[in-house]
């Protein structure tokens, strides 16, 4: 790049070509910012081949390990619901949980690369940045969840397209709740290592004490308390209720509630009530993450 007469001439030419010397750059509108942040998250994900491939390997591994291994030693379930069928919706919730929370790591890596500064100095609303990040993480989590359904027939799981369609909005809601947690964590933590440590410390109890692996109707009292305050519990229950709606409706009247629905001191929550609780958690997480992004530097 040497500046001689020729390049100065092109310079002037290019300015003529673009029309204006210095157009007024308006303030980017909220949705434009959300869209561009979301697009970058998705673009980076799509380019990361190993991450894509592992999304397909994970469900097979999970179902074989838990479905076959754990299934043989777990108490029998009512009706003809096999353990594999029972655990499949839980696996979907688990994949969504892990992908959602881990997506918050992108804020940590952006900070390490210095790219976060590029985003934070732009004259845009921090809420838009946060919502864009959450939209990106939720999209990736949703895609990973959907991969499970694509693999379902191969894995011998019985699930109809209609049910998958019903589950998508719920999975989006769950992803927003959990990505919000990831984003809030990502904007507070400074290293990838600490993010991984803390998210594992958070994910493991949330995963095992949520009804993903076993029915929560017959557990010790202390565990019951943790299960009931665990937001993931309220996500797993409706996902399973919808996914198994056909099998559950074939059971005797009171049986399905025992293995899926959350019970509050004798009051059994309906599917919609559980979804309502997820919604409340999602709004809370969204608020917390926006606040975290607003005050980060």
């Amino acid at each position: 790049m040497t500046v001689d007469q020729a390049t100065v001439a092109t310079e002037t030419g290019a300015r003529v070509a673009t029309g204006r010397a210095r157009p007024e750059t308006g303030r980017a509108n909220f949705l434009q910012v959300v869209r561009v942040i979301w697009m970058r998250e998705v673009l980076i994900y799509v380019r990361d081949r190993p991450r894509m491939i592992s999304a397909f390997i994970m469900p097979i591994m999970m179902l074989v390990m838990f479905g076959e291994g754990l299934g043989n030693s777990i108490a029998t379930l009512p009706g003809d619901i096999g353990y594999r069928q029972f655990i499949f919706p839980g696996m979907v919730a688990m994949i969504v949980l892990m992908n959602s929370v881990f997506s918050g790591v992108s804020i940590v890596t952006d900070r390490q690369f210095g790219f976060l500064r590029e985003i934070l100095v732009a004259p845009v609303s921090r809420s838009a940045i946060c919502i864009g990040k959450i939209a990106g993480g939720a999209t990736i989590a949703l895609v990973n969840g959907l991969v499970m359904f694509v693999m379902a027939p191969i894995l011998g799981i019985d699930i109809s397209l209609e049910i998958v369609g019903k589950l998508i909005p719920l999975i989006i809601l769950v992803s927003i709740m959990l990505t919000g947690l990831g984003v809030a964590m990502g904007s507070r933590l400074r290293s990838v290592e600490s993010f991984q440590m803390i998210s594992q410390v958070a994910i493991f109890p949330a995963m095992f004490l949520s009804g993903i692996f076993f029915p929560i109707n017959n557990i010790p009292a202390w565990m019951d308390v943790i299960v009931k305050i665990n937001p993931v519990t309220y996500a797993v229950a409706p996902i399973r209720e919808i996914a198994l709606s056909e099998q559950l409706s074939a059971l005797p009247a009171d049986a399905p509630f025992q293995i899926t629905h959350v019970d509050w001191f004798g009051y059994t929550l309906s599917t919609w009530e559980e979804i309502g609780i997820v919604f409340v958690f999602a709004v809370a997480m969204l608020t917390i993450s926006i606040r975290a992004i607003r005050t980060t530097e």
């Binding site: 790049m1 040497t2 500046v3 390049t7 100065v8 092109t10 310079e11 002037t12 290019a14 300015r15 070509a17 673009t18 010397a21 210095r22 157009p23 750059t25 308006g26 303030r27 980017a28 509108n29 434009q32 910012v33 869209r35 561009v36 970058r40 673009l43 980076i44 380019r47 890596t109 952006d110 390490q112 690369f113 210095g114 790219f115 500064r117 590029e118 985003i119 934070l120 100095v121 732009a122 004259p123 845009v124 290293s191 990838v192 530097e297």
Partner: protein
């Protein structure tokens, strides 16, 4: 022309430490304005405040008429920033980095691609537009950052140590581009540096030390302030020579490069007198025109600590090339 940057009484304290201490200055439109000073002088802190990344603890400043505290969004639209450390996304391509920036700054869709092409062309990266930045050298990354900083037609471009850790060729090309920006587009360029030769190339230089601006003028006038020439003498006993010079000629000698240096009005006429009068052994003498380094040393009483800076340069250039970075 109205000044594009106006600063009055700007201060920043971090607890007990005053990083920037009550500084005031104006920067004109289409001017290359340099902040010269050692690391830790408060240059980056000042730039961070002007770029609205850091709130001042005192004083005020406006850029293009926008107040840095009251209207940060206005300021941010007005300025382009090239940080000391890389802030490009290396997983995206060069073009994607620019497009992302354009979208973030609310540029019109039809302006983004032509502008990105034009700037990539200007910084000599147009053939690499679609390559991921991870494949770029440190110099290419820096050029990309300059292009990105200019995407949204800023009127002031901030360059924080823009050429640290770069090869001489890239340094020259960045400077050539900076000048052409000033001349053809009227962009004001505000840079920090601890390189003397870069400071010399600025239209005006503010010398900063310990958070204060100790001098502000054109490089020529700053040097003229010292008056005359710099005389240097060296011998086996420099301490003794310095004592003699101080007593006989009433000048304030300083030690530099294993020699005793001081300023006099007419170096050529002074030299014979000096050699006649001085009694200690002299092995070499020299006269030269003063540099900004001399101005700095005279005004602060210490050197700009090049050695320390160059160690840091090496580290930084390694980081920019992607060595030793944690993923």
């Amino acid at each position: 022309m109205p000044p594009s940057v106006q600063v009055s009484g700007l201060s920043r304290r971090f607890g007990e430490i005053t990083a920037v201490d009550d500084i005031s200055f104006d920067v004109g439109e289409a001017e290359i304005f340099g902040f010269l000073g050692p690391n830790g002088a408060g240059k980056t802190t000042t730039i961070s405040m002007l770029c609205t990344l850091l709130r001042p603890t005192g004083g005020r400043a406006t850029i293009g008429g926008h107040d840095i505290v009251d209207d940060p969004a206005g300021v941010r639209r007005e300025i382009g920033i090239v940080f000391q450390d890389s802030t490009v996304d290396e997983r995206l391509t060069a073009r994607e980095n620019l497009v992302f920036h354009g979208e973030l700054f609310g540029m019109a869709r039809e302006d983004i691609r032509p502008r990105a092409y034009h700037l990539l062309d200007r910084v000599g990266l147009v053939e690499r537009s679609n390559d991921p930045v991870i494949t770029f050298s440190g110099g290419m990354r820096r050029r990309l950052e300059v292009a990105r900083g200019l995407m949204h037609w800023p009127s002031v471009l901030f360059l924080d140590e823009p050429t640290v850790g770069l090869d001489p060729q890239t340094r020259r090309s960045i400077w050539a581009y900076a000048r052409s920006l000033r001349d053809t587009e009227g962009v004001t360029i505000f840079l920090t540096t601890h390189y003397m030769d870069e400071a010399e190339a600025c239209d005006r230089v503010a010398i900063m030390d310990h958070g204060k601006i100790i001098a502000l003028d054109t490089p020529d006038r700053l040097k003229a302030r010292l008056g005359g020439d710099v005389v240097s003498i060296a011998g086996p006993d420099n301490e003794g020579l310095a004592r003699e010079v101080r007593e006989s000629f009433e000048v304030e000698p300083r030690f530099e490069n294993d020699a005793v240096e001081f300023n006099v009005e007419q170096g050529g006429e002074f030299l014979p007198i000096l050699l006649n009068r001085i009694e200690g052994e002299v092995r070499s003498v020299g006269i030269r025109a003063p540099t900004l380094e001399d101005v700095f040393v005279t005004m602060t009483g210490h050197q700009i600590r090049e050695a320390e800076a160059s160690e840091e340069d090496k580290m930084r250039s390694m980081r920019q090339r992607g060595f030793g970075r944690m993923r």
